[in-house]
Structures are given as C-alpha cells and as structure tokens.
Symmetry: D3
C-alpha cells in the first residue's frame, strides 16, 4: 500500500529508466518493510526546468550557466 512519488526535472528520462525507477522503488519497500508489491504505487512527476528552482535559480538558468543546452 505504500505510495512513492518521485519528482525529477524533465530532462530526457527514457521509458526504460522510468521502468527501472518504478521497479527499484517497489523492490526497496518490499525488502526494507516487507510491503506487498501488488498494492505499492509509484508515481513519477517530470517537471519543466523553468518550474524547478534550487538556490533560488531556475534549473534552466543553471544549465545555461553550466554551458549545457536545455533538453
């Protein structure tokens, strides 16, 4: 019955990587707390880099100043 919400920036996570996050998070709850995987919900939210800030600065700007093209 656990509910796991993973929020990441929208920077190209593939369907396979999201499958691994879902599988890994579910396995973690089974192994550590013995939870029932059948009712363990994992939801991944992908957030635009304009909408995610750290250190008071949007990630879009941080990427630009790090010389990385926006994805």
């Amino acid at each position: 019955m656990p509910y796991v919400n993973i929020k990441i920036t929208r920077e190209g996570a593939t369907a396979e990587q999201k499958r691994q996050l879902i599988e890994g998070a579910t396995r973690l709850l089974v192994e550590v707390l013995g939870k029932n995987p059948a009712t363990t919900v994992v939801v991944i939210d992908e957030v635009d880099t304009d909408n995610w800030g750290i250190g008071g600065v949007p990630v879009t700007e941080r990427r630009r100043s790090e010389g990385q093209p926006p994805k």
Copy 2:
C-alpha cells in the same frame, strides 16, 4: 479550506468526468465535515502510464499484457 488532490493515470478522462470528480469531492467534504465549498480546492493530476507503476511494473506494460491499446 480543504485541499483534495486526485492523481489518476492519463487515460482519457473527459472534461465532464473531471467536473464530476470536482463536484463530488467538494460535496463529500461539505456533507461529512461541514466544510465551506467556496474555499475547498480540488486538483486533479493526470499522469502518463509510463510514469505510474503498480506491482513494480509501469501501467503501460500492464495494459499491453492485458491486451489493451495504450490510450
């Protein structure tokens, strides 16, 4: 003042169905707890089936194995 967040997979919920979810959730808080509907907020998040896992498997894969086309 209650805040209700409904997370569902993005599988074709219509505007009318979402209106019914908003209306029904608000009425529930009024009837059970006598809350003021005017300040009751209901937010519906629709999540891609690649991003929603149950039993360690993305819903996209579950639908495929259930023989359902992705919506």
Copy 3:
C-alpha cells in the same frame, strides 16, 4: 489505482468521519471513472491550524478572531 490525498486542518475529525471520507472518495472514483476500488488509495493528512494559512493568516488566528476556541 487512483491516489486521493485529502488535506484538512486538525480540528477534531472523528475516526468515523474519516472512514466516510475514505469510503466516499473511493466510491466517487468507481462511479465516475470505473476505477478498481481494491487498488484505490485514499490518504488523509490532518494539519495543525498554526500550519495552515488562508488569506495570509494562520487558521489559529482566524478561529480566534471568529471567537472560536482552538480545537
């Protein structure tokens, strides 16, 4: 598989009222979207009135100015 999160102020909701919220929210998802109740999760968060603000004012202060004793 829907996930419903209901946030209310901690002002004396009884176990029975919370049971009605859980039952009503689940029934709503079944009736409107045909969801499977067995995997519908409802989580109620009760928040202290010092920690909930509306109109820029904590609910504790609003209750006091409305002449209501804190619960």
Copy 4:
C-alpha cells in the same frame, strides 16, 4: 533543505514570473528560518483549468461565467 511546492492554474505564467516565484520562495525560507538556499528546492506545478476546482466548479467554467476567455 526545505521543499516548496507551488501549485497554480496553467494561465500563462511567464518564465520570468516563475523565476520570481522561485527566487522569492527561497529568500522567504532564508529570511524566516535561516535555511541554506543551496539546498532549498522550489517546484511549480501548473494545472489545467479543467483539472482545478473551487466551490465544486472547474476553473474553466468559472472563467467562462466571469466572461474571461480561457488562456
């Protein structure tokens, strides 16, 4: 280390306005609680007006009845 989540309706907030929300929310946590901006996360969720209800009515309908074109 604080985590601030700002949910607003998707009604045309510009990148600059979102930058100001990120900057302002981070500054608020620094000024009030002395938190470290470098690990303060701010996430803005923009929600379609069909998916946001207040008073039991989707914002899309409220805007229409207020004579405002949907954005």
Copy 5:
C-alpha cells in the same frame, strides 16, 4: 535535485529501516539517472491507519478483520 516522497502507514517503521529507505531511494536515483546524491531529498510521511484507506476501508479496520492488533 530529485525529490522523493515515500508515504507509508504508521506501523512501527524503525529509525534504521527509514535510514535504509533514504539510502536506497537516493542510490536508485544515482544509479538510474546519474543524479547528484548531495541534492537528492527523500521525505518519509508516516500516516495513521485511520487516515489511510484502500478498497474504501481504513487500514485500521482491515487490520482488525485480518486479526492483527493495531500497532
């Protein structure tokens, strides 16, 4: 920068188990998406069994009908 929120029922998870959840969730984001652990936030919410429903029934009742004493 990822934010992981793990919601579980309040049924006796120990400090050590919560440490393992934090460590495991962080490692998962590093291994799958190459994220920076230093800015990966994991928050565990423990919810009373009266406040968590599945199948329209509070977990407190489910435990009772399963013959388990509430924790």
Copy 6:
C-alpha cells in the same frame, strides 16, 4: 486559488515564524501573479529529522556528525 506546500524538518519553527512563512508566501503570489489572497492556501508540513534524508543520510545523523544536538 494557489496552493503552496512548504515542507521543513521539525526543528523548532515557532508559531510566529510559521505565520511569517504563510504571510510571505501569500504576498509572493499576490505580487508576482496578482492572485487573490482570500483563496490562497499555504500548508506547512514539519517532518521528523529521522524521516528526512539528503545525500542518502537522515538529517538526524547529519546533525549528530555536525555536533548539533537533535531539537
């Protein structure tokens, strides 16, 4: 109608500080987006330091290694 959720570790934030967070977050939404303060909801979640991890380590442990007594 915005909804702002501020998650902080439970480390002694006073009622006055939480009032300032509520007031400041509401003012931010008014000033940047012209939102109506009367329907702006701010909710503060305080999380035990055992339940909050950064860099894969619970804050309780980080505080101990920083020589700070748990609050």
